[in-house]
Each structure stands twice: as C-alpha cells, then as structure tokens.
C-alpha cells in the first residue's frame, strides 16, 4: 500500500518546512506549495489524500481556495485541515467547509493525530 500523500500549503516557508519534516517523520508522503495562487492546479495534478492549508495567505486566502475546491467536482471530497493564527479562524474554516481546524501555534502531536484521523 502506498503512503498517503499530504499537500501542505503555507506562505511561511519555515512553517512549511517544519510541517514537512514532522509529517514525513510520521510516515507520510508530503509535498509543499507556498503559493496559494497555483494551489488548485497542483491539487489537480497530484491528487493528494489530504490538504493541510493555512488560512491567511497573500492574494488567495485559504477559505477562498476551499470554496473553489468544494465546487469542483473532481476534487470536492478532498479532506482539508485548515490551520490559522487568526482569532476567528475556526469560524471561517468551518463556514468554508473545512473537515477540521487547528489553531496556531499547535502541538505537533495534536496535528499528527488530526491528519491521521482524516486519512484513514
């Protein structure tokens, strides 16, 4: 059985790299994308098993991406976890149709648990 593929999207490259390290260490395949404007293309190209995505990103925000995904037949069922340091992040993520939410800063144990719960 192939490893599950996680697409991570965050405009902060240090956070992106940190998430890549810990998810890989947990036995998951990851690929990353710091630029949200090309994120939908990358999803369609690579068909990940889960999208872990920041909310506040330049040009296109996480909730906008999510709305595009949910209205796109081919990828509308992709599990999505939104992460954010914004106070109203959970509300926005839930309304946009996220499967789960984690507020920044997080404990990596909690993050790994949430990711694993959604891809099983």
């Amino acid at each position: 059985m192939r490893n599950k593929k996680i697409l991570i999207c965050d405009d902060d490259r240090d956070i992106l790299e940190m998430l890549e390290i810990i998810l890989e260490d947990s036995g998951l395949d990851t690929f990353t994308e710091p630029d949200s404007t090309i994120l939908v293309d990358r999803i369609e190209e690579n068909m990940p098993d889960l999208l872990l995505m920041d909310l506040w990103m330049p040009v296109i925000t996480g909730d906008e991406i999510l709305k595009t995904l949910r209205s796109n037949d081919g990828i509308k069922n992709l599990p999505v976890i939104i992460m954010s340091a914004a106070q109203d992040g959970k509300l926005i993520a839930t309304e946009a149709g996220a499967d789960d939410y984690i507020s920044k800063p997080f404990d990596i144990d909690v993050l790994i648990a949430k990711v694993k719960a959604l891809i099983q």
């Binding site: 240090d14 810990i22 506040w56 340091a85």
Partner: protein, 515 residues
Amino acid sequence: MSDSEGLPLMGDDPANIKLLKAALDSSISGIIITDNNQFDNPIIYCNRAFELLSGYEREEVIGRNCRFLQGSERDQKERELIRKAVLTGKPVTVEIRNYKKSGELFWNELYISPIIGSSGEVTHFIGVQNDITRRKNAEENLVYERNLVEQKIQSRTRELKENQEYLDSIIQTIRQGLIVLDPQYRVISANDFFFKTFKVEKRDTLGKSLYELGNGQWNIDQLKTLLEQILPTNNPVLDFEVDHEFPHIGRKLMLLNAHRIELEGIFKDRILLAIEDITEIRAAELRKDDFLSVSSHELKTPLTAIKGYIQTILRLLPSSIDPKIMAMVKKSAHQVERLQKIITSLLEMSRIQSGKLILEYEKVDLDTLIRNVIDDVSISRPTHLIEIEGTIKKPVYGDESQISQVLENLISNAIKYSPGASKININLSEVSNYAKVSITDYGFGISLDDQKMIFDRFFRVSTIQKHFPGMGIGLYISAQIIKQHGGTLWVDSEPKHGATFSFTLPLTTERKDAE
C-alpha cells in the same frame, strides 16, 4: 401761676379746672405744656399719660426743656422743624426719637401747637405725644424685609443669569450637536456645534420641522416612531444610528439620543436631541479590530515555527544525546509555552476590552472537563494532590476551551500561591439551576482589600508580586469569561488561611449571554 397743678389759662373756677385736669389725665396721649415766656421754654405741665409714656414722674420734668427727652441724639433733623415752629408760632407734627427714663428708646409722634397771647405773641406750647414705637418698628421691619427681599431677588436673578450663562457656555462648548424640539418636532433652538457640524444656518433650521431639515435626513419612519414615544411615555431614544449622505458634509454616521426635557420633575413639552458624528470613532474602532486581529496573527505565526521546530527537535533527538542538551531544549519548549500563554492572554484581554471575545457555544460536560484539566495540571505541576468532591451531572452550554482556560487558571493559581501546602480541594455541586465549582487552596490567602480588586485588570497582590511572576490578567480574563457565560466568579479568603475561588455557570441547554 397760682395753681399748684400748673394748669394755666383755665379761668378761675376750681370746678372747671378740676374737670379739665381730669379730662387731660384720662387722655391716652401724653400732653405737656411749656411756658414760652420763661427762660428756655420750660415744661410747666404734664398729664398722667406723659408720665406713663416717658417713665418720668411729673416733678422730674417740670421746669425742664423738652429736649432732655432726646437723650444724646441732639442732631435729629426733626429738631429743626420744631425750632422753626417755635420761632414762627406755627403748629407742627414730627416723629422724633426720644428716650424714656429707663434709657429705652421710643418713637414719639409729637404735635406741637402754640398758644397765642392777647398781644399776638406765643405764650405757651402744647405738646401732644404718642408712643409710635411699635408702628415705627413695624414700618422699619417692613422696609428691612422689603430690602431683604429686594436683595434676595437681585442675588437670585444674578444667580439665574449666571446659571443661564453657565449652561449656555456648556451647551455652546459641548462637542455634540444639540437641538430642542417642540411637540410638533419643530426646532426651537440649536447650539453652535449643530450648525457647525451640518454647515447650516439658523434660518434653515430654527422653526423648521426636524423632518424637513437638510435633504430629509431625519425623515426616517423608525426614528419618527421612536420620537413620537418620547413625550407621552418618557422613553428616550438611545443610540439611534443614521448613516446618510448629508448635504454639505457628505456621507456620515450620526448617533442620535433624544430625551424629554424635565425640570425639577416638571414635564416640559420639549425634546432634547443630541446628535454626534461618530464616523471617525467607528472607523477607529474598525481599525482597532483590524489591528488586534493582525497583531494576533503576526505574534502567533513566528511562535508557530519556533514551537513546531522545538517539538520536532525533541522528537528527532537521539536518546544518546547529552542530557544537558536535552534539558536545554526542554527548557526552551517550556518557555515557548509560557510565551504562548502570555500572548493568548493579552490578545484575549484586548478582545474582552473591545467586547470582541467570541465564544463558541456548545454543550459542555463540566464534570469531565474539570477532571481532564486536573489531569493536565497534575502533570505539569505535580507538587499538590488535587481532590474532587461532588459531581455536576447536568451539562452547561458554553465555550469549552474558554471554560477550560478558567479552570486551568484557577487551579494553577491555587497551586502557585500555596507553595507550603500539598493539597487542593475542588468541590462540584448543582445549586438551584447553576453548576457551582469551588477551588480551595491552603496558601497565603487574600486580604479583604485585595479581594475587592483581585478581578481587576493588571491588579497584583502587592505582598506576593515580587515573589511570583505574572501580569495580573488571568483572574480578570477568567471573571470576564464566566460573566459572559451568565455566571459569576468570586473569592472567599482570609489571609494565611488559604482561599476558595468559586464560579457558577447556568445549567441550561440554551445559549445564555450575559449581555
């Protein structure tokens, strides 16, 4: 003068003389007669009434000039009138200040009538005297009272004028448009700031209906309904917002407050309408909200990276690593946790301050939540044994993470401020339709004075602040969170005997905001 009683000119018939004397003595007016032919015009007769009036016996006055009655007041202007009358031989009536034998002052209404002799010269004067002291006093009192009233009126008028000017200056200085309306909603008066705010003239405003001012900006059905309620019901219009494109000044957000004018409980047919331009204030509030949310994001993003990397390092470090390095990384992780809590608290406090604390309501099993929090706290602070009594079976409706934060804060405080003790007691109960949680420690306790301020922002008990780190916002936030849930947080304590912090939360399945 052969008559021993001193009655001259009365003929020689003794019977007549006796009769006349009796008549004079029965008069209620004092009567004296002076002899102008003798040196210094001496008194030669006085009747009984004069004796009673002056207090002098007849023998004490016979032979003296009348002026002795004036005591030391010899410069009264009435004397001049008397002197002229004596010189010209004409009658005169004066009111003169005289003194009784006892020294007591009395007002004497004196009528002086000359007796003309056969050769035309004045031979005698008859003085008829009445004590008019009471009348005089009454008159003087009247004048005094009148003056007093006059003075009072003057001072009251001055006061009123000052008050009016004072009020006018307040009304003119106030940075709010104020207009007074009559029962037909016509503008009776307006302050300068009103004209300045709307860039309008008095002639466009005074006497006009409120609803026809400007481009009909106040002609709003909802506002009309509210204004119509003011005079009959005394229900004020509070914080009514009008967002409108006004003539001369463009689009503005105006805040309206209107009240019935009452003076000392007397209902006046007037409405005071205060209009405040809150366009800038609202914009500043929005900027502040934006600032809060941006700063939250900007503070937490780097912390996410630091915390994530430290936790990753801890995971990836081989078990053979030098324990010193492992300890250093763990300390870093601990400090990052601390920093995260401080940032969260500060941001939460700002949100509470601006009324933007967002609670996510859900059904909360308080009993389980408390046990979970105790488990977590026991791991990070293993110095105290935490004992629970009682249970809360019914759920509360609230924000689980916020209630959890309150519990963690109270239990951590209980441990932090009782370093000499080894136990914390938690009591759970259902009281009426509230869940009640009490957390008791056996530490320093809190004085009554400090208890009053302990839930204030940035307050720290002075005796402990140097020994324990903290910012004094934990209890403030906790109290605010509980308050927003419709509950109360309070403390019972005695210095040196520990403290019990208790809070209640409504046992309800529906959302219950305090505000």
